[in-house]
């Protein structure tokens, strides 16, 4: 028998009052954005350009060579040239300029914060280029003694410039790799290059099930939101978060057990086997050779300019 209280009351929708975004809504939105990113068809990876036509192993080898070169070369001019070369490959490969621009903006923001102090005579002494402040004799910052004049030095500028350029070059190259290769192909390439199968398999499964857990967390937040009538107390929110973590943990354990049973059912006995990759084509070999030539030229130019 349906209880008396379970009778639809006259609908009275109030309006007005203070609008406040729920943290649960913000979290649900964040999960949704992340899921969208994970499930979005890899538009960049599906484009047809120079890099897209290459076998992922060849891309990994070539870009790996260039990244190592960027860490060995010290001359800013050579690093700048490598960075420009990565931009050129992006253009030829029809990778969206926005993809690289995002990387460079990130590099500027984060590396500048780290490199800025290195430009000052406080960290890197040398010939002053720009005077920033006159602090006077005997200036202190806590226990540290400060110079009387705070300047940007030429060696400091060189150190910071090298750092920013090297980071930008390495990250641009990695951005090219990820923009032109789906994650599954990248993992297969790592396996093809001799990384232990178990390592690649565990990484692939982590990536595979991240989406499942994200979806579970997203649904958990939406379910909470749909039954929330107003802001909860901090204690109540903490209890809910703890219960949510426990629920997700239980789901994870149950899922991992079923996945293991599914693997056993199909003949898994502890040793992972996978399809051998197809042989590299002539264009893959040409790409690797080109990367080796660029790397050798960069190192030689670095020696010519000064030290490597």
């Amino acid at each position: 028998m349906i209880p008396e209280w379970l009778r639809p009351a006259p609908v009275a929708i109030a309006s007005g009052g203070r609008a406040r975004r729920s943290p649960v809504r913000s979290a649900a939105n964040a999960f949704e954005r992340l899921l969208g990113l994970m499930l979005r068809p890899p538009a960049e990876a599906a484009r047809v350009g120079l890099l897209h036509r290459l076998e992922p192993r060849a891309k990994l080898i070539g870009i790996g060579i260039l990244v190592i070169t960027a860490t060995l070369v010290h001359q800013p001019v050579v690093l700048g040239a490598l960075c420009a070369a990565s931009a050129l490959v992006a253009v030829v490969s029809r990778v969206r300029p926005a993809s690289l621009a995002r990387v460079w903006i990130g590099v500027l923001i984060f590396t500048a914060a780290i490199a800025l102090p290195a430009m000052l005579n406080l960290i890197t002494p040398g010939a002053p280029m720009v005077t920033l402040a006159r602090l006077g004799e005997g200036a202190h910052l806590g226990p540290w003694r400060l110079p009387s004049v705070l300047t940007i030095t030429a060696p400091g500028l060189l150190v910071a410039g090298r750092f920013v350029l090297r980071t930008a070059t390495c990250l641009s190259l990695m951005a090219l790799l990820t923009a032109s290769t789906p994650p599954a192909a990248l993992l297969a390439a790592l396996r093809g290059l001799g990384l232990p199968r178990v390592f690649v398999m565990v990484t692939a499964m982590m990536y595979r099930y991240l989406e499942v857990l994200l979806r579970a967390a997203h649904d958990l937040h939406l379910a909470k939101l749909s039954r929330s009538l107003g802001p909860a107390s901090a204690r109540g929110e903490r209890r809910w978060v703890a219960a949510g973590i426990a629920a997700l943990y239980r789901k994870t354990i149950a899922l991992s057990q079923t996945v293991y049973l599914a693997m056993i059912s199909r003949g898994y006995t502890g040793e992972a086997r996978s399809l051998a990759p197809l042989p590299l084509a002539w264009r893959d070999a040409a790409w690797i050779a080109a990367c080796v030539v660029v790397s050798a030229a960069a190192i030689a130019a670095g020696r010519l300019w000064g030290r490597v």
Binding site: P182, P183, A184, M205, Y207, R208, A262, Y268, S274, L275
Partner: protein
């Protein structure tokens, strides 16, 4: 020689939760069986026992004349042959699709069995075509719809060329077109002589999936083992095991009570 032989099998989950209790039956080669029962009646447990994933605490499960024990499955000869012969479609396709692409998923089983790479590739290509999922070859399983996941999961078993398929609620959550495609594929496999054991509580598809029905009661025991047609006519049994329910409803001025299965639409005659 029977494909499976259950002899007074009892399996309890940790915490003494009953899975199945004193279950006995035999399944012969090329039979198609529907395991019918309400939720939590022990259908999935029976499939896991048949697939050598769980082992009974009492009684014995025999497969192809050999008792299914952990030790027997650890023997390379028997373990390999058994895993090749028997494929289990899990209820949760999400758990079954653990590879990064559909192609790798289909190749997983044959590779574990040590087949040659060219044979694995041939099987993967043929099965992709047979299942109508060639266009999904390079896709990640996470980006597939529910129906596509089910088809890929079934295809991942077919590459093993099994003689027995154990299907756990294969039709749940499928749209009408996916359901029809799955039923047609399973009918074709039955025609090829595969042994099919399907766990379901959907009585509307049972006659299409099987000729024989094994009904599990809510006490986790076999309540009846008979041809599906006979099982579906036994209204008292179906009511008792919670596969159909009786309810009262009105048609104009007539209000009456009658049993019917758990489906959204049903026909019945009106008395006066």
């Amino acid at each position: 020689m029977s494909v499976f032989e259950f002899e007074r099998v009892t399996y309890h989950y940790p915490g003494d939760l009953v899975g199945v209790e004193e279950v006995s039956f035999r399944i012969e080669a090329s039979e198609s069986i529907a395991l019918l029962g309400a939720n939590a009646s022990g259908k999935s447990t029976l499939l896991y026992l048949m697939d050598g994933l769980y082992f009974p605490q009492r009684g014995a499960v025999r497969a192809f004349g050999r008792e299914l024990t952990e030790r027997a499955l650890e023997e390379e000869g028997f373990g390999r042959a058994f895993r090749q012969q028997v494929g289990l479609l899990f209820q949760n396709s999400e758990a079954q699709l653990f590879s990064t692409t559909v192609e790798e998923e289909l190749a997983f089983g044959p590779l574990q069995l040590g087949l040659r790479a060219d044979e694995v590739r041939r099987r993967v290509d043929d099965t992709l075509t047979l299942s109508g999922i060639e266009h999904l070859r390079s896709r990640s399983p996470q980006a597939l719809s529910g129906g596509e996941k089910k088809r890929v999961a079934l295809a991942s078993l077919l590459t093993l060329a099994p003689s027995v398929l154990l299907l756990d609620e294969p039709t749940s959550g499928l749209d009408p077109r996916s359901l029809q495609a799955l039923l047609e594929l399973l009918a074709a496999l039955r025609g090829r002589g595969l042994t099919l054991v399907t766990a379901t509580h959907d009585l509307s598809v049972a006659p299409e999936l099987a000729e024989r029905g094994i009904v599990l009661s809510e006490a986790h025991r076999v309540a009846r083992d008979a041809p599906v047609a006979a099982v579906l006519q036994d209204m008292n049994l179906l009511l008792e095991v919670n596969l159909i329910h009786a309810h009262a409803h009105a048609h104009g001025s007539i209000t009456h009570v009658h049993p019917h299965p758990h489906v959204a639409y049903h026909d019945h005659e009106h008395g006066s």
